[in-house]
């Protein structure tokens, strides 16, 4: 190996390779780069963890909604008579709130259903609003004298609300302070009879010969008050 040692050449190459670099400055630079890489890795890991949590949460919410939306119509049609559910729903363009009960029945509220239209039509036939963008849903389960009855109120934009019963569903709108019936959709085997279609009251009955479902909407202080009953 000593054959290859050549002091003159080493000196020449040493000159070419320049002065010794400042190790302290370089060490600071290396430490900074290490810190930067670690921060980047931590950010990526936390982002991935958040994404996983978000995914799991979204799946859980979807699963919960699916459980709520699957309500067999046969169950709701086998309920006893005189079930009454009343709720006050306040609807505004592109936003809605619905709450409070005025009778002895209990009202369970849910929000942000993924498919509000399907949740209404499962219980009350095929009456679906023309648009469901930005809508929210409040489902009401009647109790009182009945058991297992299912009704729902879906609020859609443009001041329209869908109210469903086992006999069918209606869509009403509040325009310039006037109430009006937009559409009705009886469930299979039911027929529709519009009892009232006034600026302050809309009342529709769905009957299959033996059972009659009545959906009455009154305008009270500019807000629709819904009463769904079965005879």
């Amino acid at each position: 190996m000593s054959d290859y040692r050549d002091p003159e050449l080493e000196q020449m190459l040493g000159r070419l390779s320049g002065a010794y670099p400042d190790a302290n400055t370089a060490l600071v630079a290396v430490t900074g780069r290490v810190r930067q890489v670690k921060r980047r890795r931590a950010f990526v890991a936390s982002t991935a963890a958040c994404a996983v949590l978000f995914g799991v949460g979204a799946l859980a919410v979807r699963g919960g909604d699916a459980d709520q939306n699957v309500q067999p119509a046969s169950e709701s049609s086998s309920e006893s008579s005189n079930a009454t559910v009343t709720s006050v729903s306040t609807s505004v363009d592109d936003a809605s709130t619905s709450s409070s009960d005025e009778s002895t029945s209990s009202v369970d509220e849910t929000s942000s259903s993924v498919e509000p239209v399907s949740s209404a039509s499962v219980a009350g036939g095929s009456g679906s609003p023309s648009s469901n963008k930005g809508s929210s849903t409040s489902s009401s389960s009647g109790s009182g004298n009945s058991s297992g009855s299912s009704h729902s109120t879906v609020t859609v934009p443009n001041g329209q609300t869908t109210h469903s019963s086992a006999g069918g569903s209606i869509v009403v709108a509040v325009t310039n302070g006037d109430l009006s019936l937009v559409s009705d959709a009886p469930a299979d085997g039911f027929t529709t009879e519009v009892k009232h279609d006034r600026a302050d009251r809309v009342e529709v009955e769905f009957s299959d010969g033996s059972t009659t479902w009545r959906i009455r909407v009154d305008l009270v202080d500019g807000s629709p008050v819904v009463e769904i009953s079965q005879d």
Partner: protein
């Protein structure tokens, strides 16, 4: 190393860094012709060593690993730079035999730049960093015989060219 802590890593690496950084940068400067590029490659290698220290410290020769990482990084950089230079040269209509640019423009540097890249690496590691033939062979992943060949060839060519230049100057 069960009581592995970040402080230990920093201490160990700092010792290695202070012992080898300067020599390694100078050796790679000789190959790349740019101390900035060489320093960047060596620093990158030490960053990797820090991040994988748990594994690297178990190697027989951690410094050898760091050296190889730095050399690979430099080769990648040179390749990229070479492609860029060739593209520029094509546009300028003039081709060179070697894509490496020597930043200092020294005559001896130009002579060294005329050597094949592997020969430059062997000479830099042997003459500047002071590695043994076996260490150079291990670093470049070639046989010791090949290292000796490169050293012999490189030295002969450099000495010959320097002598020619001296004759011309006289």
């Amino acid at each position: 190393m069960s009581e592995f802590t970040d402080a230990v890593v920093v201490e160990d690496l700092e010792t290695l860094f202070r012992a080898h950084y300067g020599r390694l940068v100078r050796a790679l400067t000789l190959v790349s012709g740019s101390q900035e590029a060489a320093a960047d490659a060596v620093q990158e290698a030490f960053v990797k060593a820090h991040l994988h220290w748990r594994r690297v410290q178990r190697y027989d020769d951690p410094v050898g690993w760091i050296r190889r990482v730095a050399i690979n990084k430099l080769r990648d950089e040179n390749r990229r730079q070479g492609r860029k230079n060739k593209a520029v040269e094509r546009l300028q209509g003039e081709m060179r035999s070697d894509g490496v640019e020597w930043s200092d423009g020294a005559d001896a540097g130009a002579l060294l730049a005329g050597l094949p890249k592997q020969q430059r690496f062997a000479m830099a590691l042997f003459y500047v960093e002071g590695l043994s033939v076996a260490e150079v062979a291990n670093t470049l992943d070639i046989s010791e015989g090949a290292v000796r060949f490169h050293l012999h060839q490189g030295r002969t060519r450099l000495r010959g060219q320097v002598a020619d230049q001296k004759e011309i100057l006289e």
